[in-house]
C-alpha cells in the first residue's frame, strides 16, 4: 500500500486555484522529487498534505490518505508530527540549538531529561550535524551557518520521529557543499523515512529522487521513475522544462 494517496486534490486561495485535480501516490521509503516552474503548486501540495494551508485560509477539495487514513480523521497535531516539513529558508526558532531541538519534543508529552538528551543527540547525528554542534548546544541557533541551520531543522524534524519528511526547496539558499551534505543525509535516511522533495533544481531531483513528478500551473503533468522523466518523458512539456526551454 502506498504511504500517501492523493485523490482528486484541488487547493484554492480565495478564487485562485493553485492545485487542479491532482492524483498522486507516494510510496514507502522512496524519495519522490517534485519539480516544476514557479506557481506550479509544488509548495501548496506539501502544505495540503500536513494541513498547514489551513492557517493561510485556503481550502481544499479531494482526499489525502496517510497509511489509508483520511488526514482529516487524524488530529492535526499528530498529522504534523507524522509528516514533517522542512522550509526553503531554515526556520530557526529564537533560542539555543538545544532549545530548537527540544521544542517539538516537549510539546506533546513529558519527557525525562536523559531521554530528551539522547533523542536530541541521535537526531543531530542522523542529520550529520552532531560533530559540528556537540560542544555548542547551548549557543544561539542563529550563530550557525545557513547549511547548518537547515540541517538543524532536519534534525529537529527527525527528533519528532516522523514517518514522512517533506522538503520545500531545502537547498535553495545553500552553497554546493552544504547542498551535497543535505543530499547525502537524505539518501541515508531514505532507509527509514519516506521523502517528498520539492526542488527548483532539476539536477537535484535527478541525483536523489527515485521517482519524479512534474507539475505545471497546478496540474500534475506526469510522474515516473526519475531516469525515465529525465531521459524519455511522456509529455513534451516535461522535456521542455528539463531542457530549460521555459520556467
Amino acid at each position: 500500500m502506498p504511504k500517501i494517496v492523493i485523490d482528486q486534490l484541488s487547493l484554492f486561495y480565495g478564487q485562485n486555484q493553485v492545485l487542479k485535480n491532482v492524483n498522486l501516490e507516494v510510496y514507502e521509503k522512496e524519495i519522490l522529487g517534485v519539480i516544476g516552474p514557479a506557481n506550479a503548486g509544488k509548495s501548496s501540495l506539501l502544505r495540503a498534505i500536513n494541513r498547514l494551508y489551513e492557517i493561510n485560509y485556503a481550502r481544499i477539495s479531494g482526499k489525502i490518505r496517510l497509511d489509508g487514513e483520511d488526514i482529516f480523521d487524524i488530529p492535526v497535531n499528530d498529522l504534523r508530527r507524522r509528516v514533517g516539513l522542512i522550509f526553503a529558508t531554515p526556520v530557526v526558532l529564537p533560542g539555543t540549538i538545544f532549545k530548537n531541538m527540544s521544542y517539538g519534543l516537549k510539546l506533546y508529552r513529558k519527557i525525562k531529561k536523559q531521554k530528551l538528551n539522547d533523542t536530541v543527540a541521535d537526531a543531530l547525528q542522523a542529520a550529520n550535524l552532531w560533530e559540528e554542534v556537540k560542544d555548542r548546544l547551548y549557543e544561539s541557533a542563529s550563530t550557525l551557518s545557513g547549511g547548518q541551520q537547515q540541517r538543524l531543522c532536519i534534525a529537529r524534524t527527525l527528533a519528532m520521529n516522523p514517518e514522512v519528511i517533506m522538503m520545500d526547496e531545502p537547498c535553495s539558499g545553500l552553497d554546493p557543499i552544504s547542498t551535497a551534505k543535505i543530499e547525502a543525509t537524505m539518501l541515508e535516511l531514505k532507509k527509514i523515512y519516506t521523502f517528498l522533495l520539492v526542488t527548483n533544481n532539476t539536477k537535484q531531483a535527478a541525483r536523489t529522487a527515485d521517482r519524479t513528478a512534474f507539475f505545471l500551473d497546478g496540474e500534475l503533468i506526469e510522474v515516473d521513475k526519475t531516469e525515465k522523466i529525465f531521459t524519455n518523458p511522456a509529455d513534451a512539456r516535461t522535456d521542455d522544462y528539463i531542457r530549460g526551454r521555459f520556467g
Binding site: 492557517i55 516537549k106 510539546l107 519528532m160
Partner: protein, 278 residues
C-alpha cells in the same frame, strides 16, 4: 535660500521643544533639591509629612504610589496581555481593525472622566460589597489598570505582530497547537516589546494624578489593606501646591523631582529593552 530658512526654522523649533524639557527639568530640581539637603535624605524619606511643623517625609506617599501602581499592573497586565494576544493571534483582520482603534481610544478619555466613573460606580460598589470607605487602593488600582490598558495592549500587540510568520509556520509544522505556539514561542519572542509596554504603562500609572485624587481617598497614612485609602506623590503635589509657600512648596518640588527621576528611569529602561530587540 528658502530651503535654508525652512531648515533653520525647523531646527529652532525642534530645539525649543528639547529646550523646554531641559528648562522644566532644571526648574524642578533647582526648586526641590536644596530642601532635601536642608532636611537631610533621612528625613525626606521618613514617615512624617506635616508641613506646618516643618516635617517633609514622603515615605507614606511613596508607599501609596507604589501600591496603586502595583495594583494597576496586577489588573492591567493580565487583561492587556490577553487582549493583545487575542487581537494578534486569534481574531480575524476585521476584528483587529475594529477593536484596536477602540482600545487606543481609551487613552484619549480624559482622566477626570475615569475618576468620575470611579466615584459614581466603583467607590460605592466597593463600599457596599467589601467595606471600608470605598475610596481605596483597590478602586484606584482598578481604574488605573483600565487606564494603562491601551499602552500595554498596543505595544504588546505590535511586538507580537512583528514576530516573523515563519516562526509560526515552523512551530505548527512541528505539531504545536495555536495555544502552544503563543505560549512557548510568540510570547518569548515578543518578550522585550511586552516588557517595554508594561514599563511604559507603569510610568503612566505612577504619574496619573486626577483620577487618583478623585478615588484614592488621599488619607496621609500607610495603608494596611487594599480597602484603605491612600495618598500618592502626584496627589500631594496637586492638592497642596495651591497654598504651599516656602519650604512646603520646595518639598512639593522635591516630590516632583523624585517622581521625575522614577519616570525617566522607567522610560529609559523601556527604550533600552525595545532598542535591544532591533
Amino acid at each position: 535660500m528658502k530651503d535654508k530658512i525652512a531648515e533653520k526654522l525647523l531646527l529652532f523649533i525642534a530645539f525649543s521643544a528639547i529646550g523646554s524639557l531641559l528648562l522644566i527639568t532644571f526648574f524642578i530640581f533647582q526648586q526641590g533639591i536644596p530642601l532635601i539637603f536642608k532636611i537631610g535624605l533621612g528625613n525626606f524619606f521618613s514617615m512624617h509629612w506635616s508641613p506646618t511643623r516643618g516635617q517633609f517625609g514622603i515615605l507614606s506617599m511613596i508607599i501609596g504610589s507604589l501600591m496603586v501602581t502595583v495594583g494597576a499592573l496586577i489588573v492591567g497586565i493580565p487583561f492587556g496581555l490577553a487582549c493583545a494576544i487575542y487581537l494578534a493571534e486569534f481574531s480575524s483582520k476585521m476584528v483587529q481593525k475594529t477593536l484596536k482603534p477602540i482600545i487606543e481610544l481609551l487613552a484619549g478619555i480624559p482622566s477626570v472622566v475615569y475618576g468620575f466613573i470611579g466615584i459614581v460606580i466603583l467607590v460605592p460598589f466597593i463600599r457596599t460589597h467589601f467595606g471600608g470607605p470605598g475610596f481605596s487602593v483597590l478602586a484606584s488600582s482598578i481604574i488605573l489598570g483600565i487606564m494603562i490598558l491601551p499602552t500595554i495592549v498596543s505595544i504588546s500587540y505590535d511586538s507580537l505582530i512583528a514576530v516573523p510568520n515563519t516562526y509560526r509556520e515552523g512551530s505548527y509544522a512541528l505539531g504545536a497547537t495555536k495555544w502552544q505556539t503563543v505560549v512557548k514561542l510568540l510570547i518569548p519572542a515578543a518578550r522585550s516589546g511586552i516588557v517595554a509596554g508594561i514599563i511604559l504603562g507603569m510610568g503612566r500609572a505612577i504619574g496619573e494624578t486626577m483620577a487618583v485624587i478623585m478615588i484614592a481617598g488621599n488619607a496621609l497614612k500607610i495603608p494596611h489593606s487594599i480597602l484603605d485609602s491612600v495618598r500618592t506623590l502626584t496627589s500631594t503635589i496637586a492638592l497642596e501646591l495651591g497654598y504651599a509657600t516656602g519650604d512646603h512648596r520646595a518639598a512639593l518640588f522635591a516630590c516632583g523631582a523624585f517622581l521625575f527621576i522614577i519616570i525617566i528611569t522607567l522610560n529609559i529602561i523601556a527604550i533600552r529593552i525595545t532598542g535591544r530587540r532591533e
